[in-house]
Amino acid sequence: MGAPLVHPERTAGIPFVRAIGLPGLGLGLVLVAFAVLPLFVRSPYHLHLVILFLLWVGLGESWNLLGGFTGQISFGHAAFFGTGAYVTSLLYIGPGVPLPLAGLVGGVFAAVLSVPIGLVCFRLRGPYFALTVLGFAEILRIIAINWRSVTMGPVGVLFPPIFRDKLPFYYMGLALAVLTVGVVWLTLRSKAGFYFRALRDDQEAAKALGIDSTWYKQFSLILSAFLTGLLGGFFAPYQGYIDPDVVFSIPDISIAMIVVAVLGGMGNLWGPAVGAVIVVVLSEILRTTLGGAHLLVYSGVIIAIVVFLPDGLVGWFGRVLARMRPPRPEPAAAREHQPSTAAPAALDMATENSPGAGEHRRRDGVLLSTEKVAKAFGGLLALQGVDVQLRRGEVLGLIGPNGAGKTTLLSLISGFERPTSGRIHFDSHDITGLPAHRITHLGVARTFQIVRPLGKMTVLENALTAALAHTVHVSAAKEKAEAILQFVDLYSRRNRMAANLTLAERKRLELARALATNPKLLLLDEVAAGLNAAETKTMVAILERIRERGISIVAVEHVMQVIMSISDRIVVLHYGRVLAEGKPAEVAQNAEVIQAYLGVTEGNDRA
């Protein structure tokens, strides 16, 4: 959605423009225009509309940070808006705290409030989250109505006029809108921003990249709540009056914020600005002509957007533009189609920083061991006491008929499932039951059998997000991601949306992401399944080169040609137990194995 955040090189002729970029120049002009706008807009009514626009840009963008970029749809942001508005008003009117400070405290209050809300709600996904936040907003509304001694109850709070005209409010609104959009913009370019978008696109994949999903969602909520609270604190003095049904309103605040963000385009930085123009102008026209039918229009807008334009007006506009423009060749595609063997440095980049790089090449010592690991899903025993050991630098093939427990074993090692009993040790840590993201940080990376690309991010952003596991510097992560993409022969595809890759490319992207987290141990779940002969060959070549770098691998694979050629040793699982273990040739000769596995699928070496 929207333009990729990591831009391909842009060059413009004029040195000044080249320095700040064309978008930067455009943005600067817009800011200047807004700064001098009051010189031209003299009518208080029109200035009022512009102030409302600024307010809603801010509110839409705050919601967008959590909903559009982090994928956590909230139906109850009025909770934070109302809290900001009330705290600011009560502090200003009661103890006479100066307005800027009171507003700041309002934002902080909203942020603090979002912590317990997040603690409860982030245990839940999707609809539960949306509606539970709404429930919290309703609770706050009822409290504001009934806690008369503090909130003055349903009659609300009257804010004494502080400025004689709207001009100071205009600049306050402008500052807040710029602040909100700026904070979101900066966040998106930081590690947190990449993590937010990864969580939005695929939470399971995000965990595998070492992302602590609860903390990052919470962080996004806190930031979003803070900004919303600030804007609530601006609304109160500007409006001059607040009451519970206004500032905690479901349709007029919570839903309107969604409308602004969704109309422009969820997960698009400039979406809320477009949404805010339309909503403010439309509401105003409807208010003066139909008398309050704006909610009907909100309803129509939401339905139309969800059914016809899920990526909003900005997204739609982008698609129209793209269709009008002649297709450009992939940037320098020819140059990058050089054989990927030319990038051996890539993997050095991947390994040299990893904590145990030196040990990698020493083929001694146990890296991973499972002790009597068992896993039951209800009554089904997927694994019943499996002991597997992996030495440093070793490649272990894990085979067995469907349902033998291979993927379950990978899930236990990578922390996606907790074993029912038994222990798992990795690199002198007991990792039994550790959350997946922590295991990733210890140096275990996994790929998924059914590929999980972060679909609305580019290929480069996918790899970059993974490379952020051990650094906060986006530029460093980008360099590493580029090197790894060259290594897996995806560099020419780096600016594609991950959702638009072929299956073979997606499989390699899985691999690239796993490598970018600096693993000592790579868990591969059928990376060759579904590939044609040529693609399989490429994959085997890549795996060989990974193995040359000394990264240990556990590979679940049905494609015999792959497993036999890369494995040092093979473990055969059958009904959740280890049936046989040994060198590839030995295992292939084992009568039990042939009977249980190879016998049934002889001459049929696909999945």
Binding site: V120, T132, G135, I139, I255, A293, L296, S299, I303, V306
Partner: protein, 292 residues
């Protein structure tokens, strides 16, 4: 005296809870089959109330008889919404949130249309029957509430029986488990989706008819009931009709006791708190997994 109050409010809570159960059963049926949370559910109920109100005002039709009209009317409305709005986005495999946004938008739209048609004025339904009570062992029982409870309970059990014993029920349950697999057995999945959405909405309409004599009416009452339906559904375990019964009764009693022992003003807060508590401690609901 204290015991009397406790009994009285528990009983009131149970009776109201029966209605909540019916509201929740509709939402739960829709969620169970389509995996869509219908955020227009309360608005459907509100439409049922208006139908009943106008049938009574214009033709003096007994609210309990008007169930025969509100049920099919809301079935049709629900089926149309499913066919023309929900089905297209389900086909696109859109993220879950889009379904929420869509049904929320639909609910908002219904409210606004009703507001434009019948104004935002609050109305009450006044007949002697609406306020009649009987007294048993010193506990007074509202006849309207008792009747509503009886009918609601009857319909919930009927729905449960239909789901378990009839071909219609079997096709609904099969589609709920796996639409594609069900279609391999000759069940038209899309038709079943429309049926489920229709029946679920129809139940909301029935609940509206039953609720009218004991509640007030305005275009905006729906939102609160959407939330209550959701709470009931979650309390009972998403998708379980039997669970909705347990959830409804629990919510009814919790609200009623909360109103007496904590504060009437915080009645709804109690409901939300019970909901948040259950979600945090037992995310699968009070009943856990049941057959339906």
């Amino acid at each position: 005296m204290g015991g009397q109050v406790f009994l009285q409010s528990t009983l009131n809570g149970l009776l109201l809870g029966g209605l909540y159960a019916l509201i929740g059963a509709g939402m739960s049926l829709i969620f169970g089959v389509l995996r869509v949370i219908n955020l227009a559910h309360g608005e459907m109920l509100m439409v049922g109330m208006y139908i009943t109100f106008w049938l009574f005002t214009l033709f003096n039709l007994n609210p309990y008889v008007s169930v025969l009209i509100s049920f099919p009317a809301l079935c049709l409305l629900g089926a149309a919404i499913q066919r023309f709005l929900v089905a297209p986005i389900l086909r696109k495999n859109a993220p879950e949130e889009n379904q929420l946004l869509l049904t929320m938008g639909v609910g908002l739209g219904i409210t606004e249309v009703v507001r434009l048609l019948f104004t935002a004025n609050y109305r009450t339904f006044s007949t002697p029957f609406a306020t009649a009570t009987i007294t048993v062992l010193g506990i007074s029982i509202s006849l309207a509430l008792l009747t509503a409870f009886g009918i609601a309970l009857g319909i919930s059990l009927l729905l449960y029986t239909v789901l378990l014993k009839t071909d219609l029920g079997r096709s609904l349950r099969a589609t709920a488990q796996d639409k594609d697999a069900a279609s391999l057995y000759g069940i038209d999945g899309n038709r079943t989706y429309t049926l489920a959405f229709g029946i679920g909405s129809g139940l909301a309409g029935v609940a509206g008819s039953l609720l009218l004599p004991i509640f007030y009416l305005s275009p905006t009452v729906g939102g609160a009931f959407t939330l209550k339906a959701f709470i009931v559904t979650v309390l009972g375990g998403m998708g379980s009709v039997l669970g909705a019964l347990v959830g409804g009764l629990t919510l009814g009693v919790a609200e009623s006791l909360g109103a007496v022992y904590v504060s009437t003003a915080y009645r709804d807060v109690i409901g939300y708190l019970v909901f948040i508590l259950v979600l945090s401690l037992r995310p699968s609901g009070l009943v856990g997994r049941s057959r339906f």
